[in-house]
Amino acid sequence: MNADLSLWIEVPVAILLVLSGVFTLLGATGLLRMKDYFQRMHPPALASTIGAWCVALASIICFSALKSGPVVHAWLIPVLLAITVPVTTLLLARAALFRKRMAGDDVPAEVSSRRTESGR
């Protein structure tokens, strides 16, 4: 980090970066440790939410201090993540449900009332 940053900026930036790393690592660990497919969909969200938020906030603080003015465009990253991540998550969840129903696994039947006669 640049030498002309004061300690009051360096410390929170460092804490935020470490926090982000810890949460992203936990998300990856969860993906490895969990056994059930749907359980494994939850931990990676740690990286795309609080992990990304902490880095964005650290970047805003750091570059605002370096350029001695607000540099806030990093907040666009969490916003764009929040808009795009649901597309893949929904697709994965729907595909997994479809496959598991086809395979006769223990997942809830379709919630649309049109098909109640096939309910398990």
Partner: protein, 162 residues
């Protein structure tokens, strides 16, 4: 006006997005961003069957902070669950949430909220939009969860979009 700018707020948002990404308000960027804001909604018009009606900015701001708080809490719960997974596996399960929200844009926003909160995964929406199948990371009390879900996310979204 409506034909040229089918979604004026989207045009404005795209223009601001362009200027923010480039960190510049030079005439060239002002023009390029304006062209993007003008052209993109026109090209996308066929994909948007219905106009979104957004009201109550105060509710939007409140919902934004409520979701932010829930995301942080849920992050901590999932992180703790991962750490303790060996000794106490989380009580993950599917639940069915009856929905009163019918507006397509409101449901899209609800899907975003469900995905952003790590503890929930939006799994399936009934064809008539009356029931939502949700996968929950660690469920204590189903009735309490549904009540929280409906009062915190669904009701504000109904106020905003319906």
């Amino acid at each position: 006006m409506n034909r040229l700018f089918p979604a004026p707020w989207l045009s404005l948002a795209l223009w601001i997005l362009w200027l923010t990404l480039n960190l510049s308000v030079s005439p060239g960027n002002l023009l390029l961003g304006a062209a993007l804001g003008f052209a993109a909604p026109l090209m996308m018009r066929k994909l948007r069957p219905k106009r979104a009606h957004i009201r109550r900015p105060g509710t939007i701001v409140r919902l934004f902070f409520l979701v932010g708080r829930d995301v942080i809490m849920s992050n901590l719960i999932v992180a703790r669950g991962v750490l303790r997974a060996g000794r106490r596996p989380p009580n993950s399960c599917f639940i069915k949430v009856p929905l009163d929200l019918r507006d397509a844009h409101g449901l899209a926003a609800l899907a975003m909220i469900c995905t952003v909160v790590p503890g929930t995964v939006w799994s399936e929406l009934a064809l008539d939009r009356s029931v939502l199948l949700l996968h929950v990371w660690d469920l204590d009390d189903e009735a309490q969860f549904i009540e929280h879900f409906k009062s915190t996310y669904e009701r504000p979204l109904m106020e905003i979009f319906e």
